[in-house]
């Protein structure tokens, strides 16, 4: 075969390989036009920047029907992901659902639009205990959406068999307990959350920024570290459910999921979770309006819609999130509504704290401390 011919065939092959791309491009564009044409050329769309898996699919359907618009979602799995994207200048979201400290940041950056409460009659459904937070006095910008607790999830049978306590942070920090479950424990891969647990165990506030107290907490962590299997932010859900882990420091939603998975697959054990008596972190997520959003009208509609007990309860029933909505309680399945790890009683509620943001110097020195901890 001549060289000339072979060159031509190669070029031909490249072009043909690109053919599907072209076809996809054209058909794809056509389809997009079509789908956008229905809700009026992309105008009647509410852009929600939300946590992963933080709204029930049926709620989306109901809302789209109710507002005769389309709900388009983008997701983040960490407040910091969302903040980083917004800090670089990303715009176009109508609604965001940040946790308290991230909301604090957004408010102080001037990134949010004040709410028009006359459009939110259902605001009265919210339990006053969750209003008027330090982050947003007077709730000028935010309406509570749902909350989670950072707590302990465990394999009930194993922990009972080993006679370990589950109502104290000691179980993840004290070698005398840990040596019985070495390599079967994970803690959150989060500077703030793990430090918060350690600080609470030492009797300080989760928002303590005293360098000396931080050092004590770091010592505590370093001492316990050899007994932990890993720092884990998500994989503990499955590992608990299949029995590889016996104890995990994590979020109440995730423990709910792990318990459900273990039950569904008929494992010979149950996953329990409880809040340590020393107190823990409460993360309250709120709906806020981004200043640059195009559709504050739809955003208000959405907030008011989500404030209806029936709609708000759908999320709790799906993922076991805490619900600040009093009207929702009647729609929440009793086994969830009666779970004290999800709905803490007033006495426990008093011992929960919300994380506040650190200033930039504190953030930098905590980061160094964390790096040191990991490298030790």
């Amino acid at each position: 075969m001549s060289i000339r011919a072979s060159a031509r065939t190669h070029l031909g092959a490249i072009l043909l390989f690109l053919l599907p791309a072209l076809i996809l491009f054209t058909t794809g564009c056509a389809r997009q036009d079509e789908s956008e044409a229905v809700p009026g050329r992309g105008e009647n769309v509410l852009h929600l920047f939300n946590w992963n898996n933080y709204i029930a699919p049926e709620t989306v359907r109901h809302f789209e029907k109710f507002c005769n618009c389309k709900l388009s979602q983008d997701y983040y799995s960490d407040n910091e992901e969302m903040l980083a994207k917004l800090a670089a200048g990303a715009t176009g979201y109508d609604l965001i659902v940040p946790t308290g400290n991230a909301m604090d940041t957004l408010i102080r950056q001037g990134a949010l639009r004040p709410l028009d409460k006359s459009l939110l009659p259902n605001l009265r459904n919210i339990n006053p205990a969750y209003l008027e937070t330090v982050f947003d006095p007077g709730n000028k910008y935010s309406v509570p959406y749902a909350y989670t607790l950072t707590l302990l999830g465990f394999n009930e049978e194993k922990i009972r068999e080993l006679e370990l306590p589950t109502d104290t942070w000691a179980i993840i920090f004290e070698p005398k307990y840990l040596k019985k479950i070495k390599g079967r424990v994970t803690v959150l891969d989060s500077q703030r959350e793990l430090m918060a647990a350690a600080l609470k165990y030492l009797g300080y506030s989760v928002n303590d920024t005293d360098e000396e107290h931080w050092k004590q907490a770091a010592e505590l962590i370093v001492r316990a570290k050899p007994y932990w299997a890993a720092f884990s932010n998500t994989s503990y859900i499955k590992e608990l459910a299949v029995g590889n882990l016996w104890l995990a420091h994590g979020y109440s939603n995730d423990m709910f999921q792990a318990a459900l998975d273990a039950k569904k697959t008929g494992r010979g054990f149950t996953i329990g979770y409880s809040t340590p008596r020393e107190g823990a972190v409460l993360a309250l997520d709120s709906m806020v309006l981004q200043r640059s959003g195009n559709r504050p009208d739809l955003a208000h509609q959405f907030i008011n819609f989500m404030l209806e007990g029936r709609n708000s309860a759908e999320l709790t029933n799906l993922i076991g999130s805490g619900n600040p909505n009093m009207d929702a309680m009647q729609y929440i399945r009793p086994e969830i509504a009666n779970n004290k790890a999800i709905f803490p009683d007033p006495e426990l509620l008093a011992r929960l704290e919300m994380l506040r943001d650190l200033d930039r110097k504190q953030r930098r020195s905590l980061s160094r401390l964390w790096t040191e901890i990991k490298l030790r």
Binding site: L83, G110, G183, S367, L375
Partner: protein, 328 residues
Amino acid sequence: MTKKAEQGRTEGRAEERAEVGIKERTARQRMAKFFVAGPPLVFLTVFFVVPSLIMIATSFRFPGEFGGLAPIAAPVVSAHVSQGLEYGFTLEAYQFFFSDILYAKIFLKSFAVAAATTLICLVMAYPLALLISRSKKHLRNLMVLLVVLPFASNFLIRIYAWMIILGPESGLSYFINAVLGALGITPITLLFSPFAVLVGMVYVHLPFMVLPLYTNLEKHDPALLDAAQDLGATRWQRFWRVTWPLSLPGVFSGAALVFIPVLGMFAVPDILGGTGDILIGNLIKDQFLGTRDWPFGSVLAIMLTLAVLAIAGLAAWFARSAVGQRAT
């Protein structure tokens, strides 16, 4: 005649001809150079150099009180903003980097992991690439495809699959611990360990070694090996004296494509690593998606890039001197 000398001769000939000075032809060649080098140069200047300059500038600024960056100009003090905020440019982030041996330690550790990954990849990829290059033509494409195909599935999914394989309840764990038990060694956990990190790193980067190696080995002239055989070279000698030196450019590009990305990788240590497995990639990611310290994140990245370029320069220098030695 050696390769080098041959190349030198052709270059010499080219120069001669340029001197002869067929003007039209040199003009044409310059046009060609312009067309070939121009587009990538322009594209990368716009979409890489400019953003990089932004990042370099970032490393000389203060982090914003709430994330992002502090303003360059003095902030307008409003009700929202407390007084006494920093603004402008600073060397603070660099000072912070050099103030603690901690960061040097992480660099060393990361380079060690990257080197180990590269070495293992090379050992695994070389026979595979060699076999592919010596297979029949229609088989060759299929075999290359088989190397790349797993990578059309999602990266994280593949890592999670390793979680299953290395997990304490997996067959592999049982087998290894049964063997260790028989030898009287205490059982080990595979998952959440430096070993798991290494496995994950090798798995993710293996094709980056196979492909450059294969493209290099494929062009080798089998006549060279036949000639060596005729001269009485053993199998080992044929490999070590002919194939290996000729494949060095492939080895180096493969090594670069494995070594460098490993340094920036954070997902593998995050998912498969234990409590001590922090690498430079994790640290950099944390500055952007955790600590909200962009200037320090930029400093770390600049240091990493400089270190990588230094190593690449050293490697190139070594390679050149090694090739030079062989030629003389």
